[in-house]
Each structure stands twice: as structure tokens, then as C-alpha cells.
């Protein structure tokens, strides 16, 4: 557990030191629709449900109430 905490702290420090300061008015590129985590939420929900039904892993971090998937 202690090793996990240290790894997490190191990870956050590495991420923070690699980041540049970006003012809000400089974020127009980040605001583009094609930069979203899921450009189409509806399609992503359908995809995750399919992977949930066919694979052993939790897709996208978890699916609750997603049905039986018994096929």
C-alpha cells in the first residue's frame, strides 16, 4: 500500500512537472469536438455495452445495470 502511494505521488509529480501553464483563452484547440474523450457519447455507450457482453474486463471502468450479457 505504501509503495502504491509513493508510485501515485511520483506519477502526479511527473505529470505536473511536464505540464505547461495554459491560460483559458489559449484552450481553443482543447475545446474542439474531436478532442473530447468520447466525441459521440451515444456510440461510446453502445460500444461499451458490447465489450461488457463479450469480454471479461470492465470496459471504460465499469457498467452497472447493463443487463445479463448471457449470450
Amino acid at each position: 500500500m505504501r509503495a502504491l502511494r509513493i508510485a501515485l505521488l511520483l506519477g502526479i509529480c511527473a505529470l505536473a512537472s511536464a505540464c505547461q501553464h495554459v491560460d483559458p483563452w489559449e484552450r481553443n484547440l482543447l475545446a474542439r469536438p474531436d478532442m473530447a474523450w468520447e466525441p459521440d457519447e451515444l456510440a461510446a455507450t453502445q460500444e461499451n455495452h458490447t465489450y461488457f457482453s463479450k469480454e471479461a474486463a470492465m470496459p471504460g471502468g465499469g457498467v452497472g445495470g447493463g443487463g445479463c450479457g448471457c449470450n
Binding site: 483563452w25 484552450r27 481553443n28 484547440l29 457519447e41 463479450k54 471479461a56 474486463a57 465499469g62
Partner: protein
């Protein structure tokens, strides 16, 4: 200063003002970071978070056709070689009701037909072959999720409740999620939890004509961080813990032990951990964006899985976006899995031949096209998207060598159409 330079400066300032307005109004990066973070929580998931972003009405409709490939005759010893087809209609509505509160509603309806793997047995040569059900299975699923999101200056809080109903299966789920922005909204922390209670009331089969009802409960907790790296890239990392307790087996599957069939049997609890990291980078010169996602999964059934997905989103003529992507998935087998078992398998021993718990890898290719209809229809945010995915799985795609491939591994194709509009 020349007129050309004055015009360029004026356009640049206008773009900057638009970016500031977007950031202040909760669109822009703020929106993107938010969409990321809650895409983790059961029930709550990405749906509620996404609905809170646009500060306006939005409506989306999707239709998808999912078709599994038929199995080769050499892998089937009985039953239909044809497998599942699923048609899905999905709706998503987001409605702001004032006072920084947004309501969301997601509804999906699926109709499923086809045949399913029933058990795996060995043929005369000792190779595993699958016994399929008949091709007469028909089922439908309705999924409803409602959400309310409270949008603050530097935080969002969402509550969700939903249900998933099939002829033989009912699930009810609740979720809570919270996000908080720091560092001028360049950093977003999120956490959330979800709970689901499920009941399965199986239909009778020739093996078990009068099955009994079963229940399970699933709880999950998630923690995430999203960070702006520079003016063209952003990353997000999140950890999810999920615990399930109850009936976790598949009532429609059997295991074969030396020719004697018995029910699929699995442990009564399962803890799963998922670590998901995502990266997005825009390349201004070519008007394209790189998407890279990696996910590691581990659970107490000894299944380890890795997923890597890479995509490129290319904008063309400020009207069309073409997005090809490739996804690689690989998993190890569950500790109680075998394609078939030796005679004398104890009735109390966990045992499953489900192909989804077998060791394998999968490769899928996806191509998506989005066309903006905003100018054509004079409706803001109106667009149409078409997507095709081809998924193939097998032992040859796995990391390392697999002794015996499960003959029921699935290949499928999905064609999906989505329409979206908003005000």
C-alpha cells in the same frame, strides 16, 4: 500595419475571445475534462456527465445493427451455426431547467435473435467443439437512465438512477459522482460511486426445466484526475474498484466433464480493478487529433486484461471528420475455466467453459465519419455520424501461446448511425 496584418490580428483576437467565452461558459476544456472524469461510474458513467456540459438542450438518436459471424462447421457438434443479431435504438436527451441544474434521460431498446453457445465438449480426436442452442432465442432489453446534475462554478455533482429490463433479467442502479476543478480549470479531480442490484429469473431449458431465481449486488468506487498538458494536449487517468456479490454464473451455459454435463459454476464474489489512461493531442497544421487509450484490468478470478486503442480524427473542409481507429484486447483465463473437464468433476467445484473467461486476444478496426448539418439545416450542433466496426477474436491474437482455443470465440460487425442536435 498592413490591412492584411490588421485583419489577421482581429481574427486572432476574435478566436481568443471565443475561447475565453467557451471556457467561462463551461464548454471548452472544462467540458472536455468533465466528460472524461465521470466516464467511470456504474450507472452514472459518462452519460450524466456529458449531459451537463452543453448548457443547452441536446437530443441524440442512434441506431445500430450488430451481427455475429457464423461458426465454421468444424467447430460445432450440434445446434445452429448462426449466432446473435442485435438491433438497437437509443435516445439521449439533456435539458437545462435553470438554476444551474441539468436533467438527462437515456433510453435504449435492443432486440436480440439467434443462437448462443451452450457447452463445449471434446470430439473423437480430443479437440473441443461447441454445442450451440437452437436459433430460436428471442429477447428484448430496455435500458432507462435518468440523471440530475448540479453545475457550480468549479464543480459538478451528478445523481443517477436507472433500470435495465429483459424478459428474464432486471437490474436497478444508482450512482453519485462529483468533480472539482483546480488550477484555473486545468486540473480536474473526480470521484464517484455506483450500486446495482440485479435479479435473473432464467427460462427453463431441456437440462433444467424449472430453474430458480438468482440475485447479485454490485458496488463500485472510482477516482480520477484529468490534466491539461499544453495548449494542444490533455491526459486523464482513473482507477475503478468494483465488487460483485451473489449469483455470478451463467444459467444458460453448461460444462462437460467426461461426457457428463452440469451447470456453469462460479465463485459468489468478484473484485475487479480497472486502471484507464487516456491521451488526446491535436495537430494544428494538419487539423487532426490523436486519441490514445490504455486500460489494464485485474480481478480476483485471476483474469488480467489489457486494452490499447489508437485513433486519428481528421477534419476535412471544416465540415467532415473521418476517424479510423484500431483496438487491441487480450485477456488471460479465469482460474476455474477449462474448455472441458475430466470425468469426476466434484459438484461443488467452480467450473466454466464460457468463451468470455477463456484466454484469447481480439483485434478490431473501426471507421467513423461525422458530417456537420448545422449550415444545411440552420440548426446549431446538428450532425450525422456513421460508424462501422469489425471485431475478430482468437488465440492467435493473444499475448503468449494459448494451449487450446475456445471454439466459441466470437467475431462480429457493428454498423451504427447517430443523429444529434442541440440548442
Amino acid at each position: 500595419m498592413s490591412q492584411k496584418k490588421r485583419r489577421a490580428r482581429s481574427e486572432r483576437r476574435a478566436a481568443e475571445r471565443a475561447a475565453v467565452r467557451a471556457a467561462r461558459s463551461g464548454r471548452g476544456t472544462f467540458a472536455m475534462l468533465t466528460t472524461s472524469a465521470l466516464a467511470l461510474i456504474p450507472g452514472l458513467a459518462e452519460r450524466a456527465a456529458a449531459q451537463s456540459q452543453e448548457n443547452g438542450w441536446s437530443f441524440a438518436y442512434g441506431y445500430s445493427m450488430y451481427a455475429e459471424g457464423s461458426l465454421p462447421a468444424s467447430k460445432v457438434s450440434a445446434g445452429s451455426r448462426e449466432r446473435y443479431d442485435i438491433d438497437t435504438h437509443a435516445f439521449k436527451l439533456a435539458a437545462p431547467i435553470g438554476g444551474n441544474i441539468s436533467l438527462g434521460l437515456d433510453v435504449a431498446y435492443e432486440k436480440m435473435t439467434g443462437a448462443s453457445p451452450w457447452l463445449i465438449e471434446s470430439d473423437l480426436a480430443g479437440d473441443p467443439v461447441v454445442v450451440m442452442t437452437g436459433a430460436s432465442i428471442e429477447d428484448a432489453r430496455t435500458d432507462v437512465l435518468a440523471s440530475v446534475t448540479f453545475i457550480g462554478e468549479k464543480s459538478r455533482t451528478s445523481l443517477t438512477g436507472g433500470t435495465s429490463m429483459e424478459d428474464d433479467y432486471t437490474a436497478i442502479n444508482f450512482g453519485f459522482g462529483r468533480e472539482k476543478d483546480f488550477n484555473q480549470k486545468a486540473t480536474t479531480f473526480s470521484w464517484g460511486m455506483g450500486f446495482s442490484t440485479d435479479e435473473i429469473d432464467p427460462n427453463g431449458t431441456s437440462f433444467n426445466p424449472l430453474p430458480s431465481k438468482h440475485h447479485k449486488k454490485v458496488g463500485s468506487f472510482s477516482l480520477g484526475i484529468a490534466q491539461v498538458i499544453d495548449r494542444a494536449s490533455v491526459a486523464q487517468s482513473s482507477l475503478t474498484l468494483q465488487y460483485a456479490d451473489g449469483y455470478l454464473a451463467d444459467p444458460y451455459k453448461l460444462v462437460s466433464a467426461g461426457g457428463i454435463n452440469s451447470e456453469d459454476r462460479r465463485p459468489g464474489t468478484r473484485t475487479q480493478i480497472s486502471w484507464l489512461t487516456r491521451y488526446r493531442r491535436h495537430f494544428e497544421r494538419v487539423h487532426g487529433s490523436l486519441h490514445a487509450d490504455y486500460q489494464f484490468n485485474w480481478d480476483t478470478w485471476d483474469v488480467k486484461a489489457n486494452t490499447l486503442e489508437l485513433g486519428w480524427h481528421q477534419e476535412l473542409f471544416e465540415l467532415i471528420t473521418i476517424a479510423p481507429s484500431i483496438r487491441y484486447y487480450t485477456q488471460s483465463e479465469a482460474k476455474f475455466y477449462a474448455p472441458y473437464f475430466a470425468l469426476g468433476l466434484p459438484a461443488t467445484q467452480d467450473a466454466s467453459s464460457d468463451y468470455r473467461l477463456s484466454p484469447y486476444g481480439a483485434l478490431s478496426f473501426k471507421l467513423r465519419a461525422d458530417v456537420s448539418l448545422a449550415d444545411l439545416l440552420k440548426v446549431p450542433q446538428a450532425r450525422i455520424g456513421l460508424q462501422y466496426e469489425r471485431y475478430e477474436s482468437g488465440a492467435e491474437y493473444a499475448i503468449g501461446s494459448i494451449g487450446t482455443e475456445n471454439p466459441a470465440l466470437v467475431d462480429f460487425s457493428v454498423l451504427m448511425l447517430t443523429l444529434k442536435t442541440g440548442f
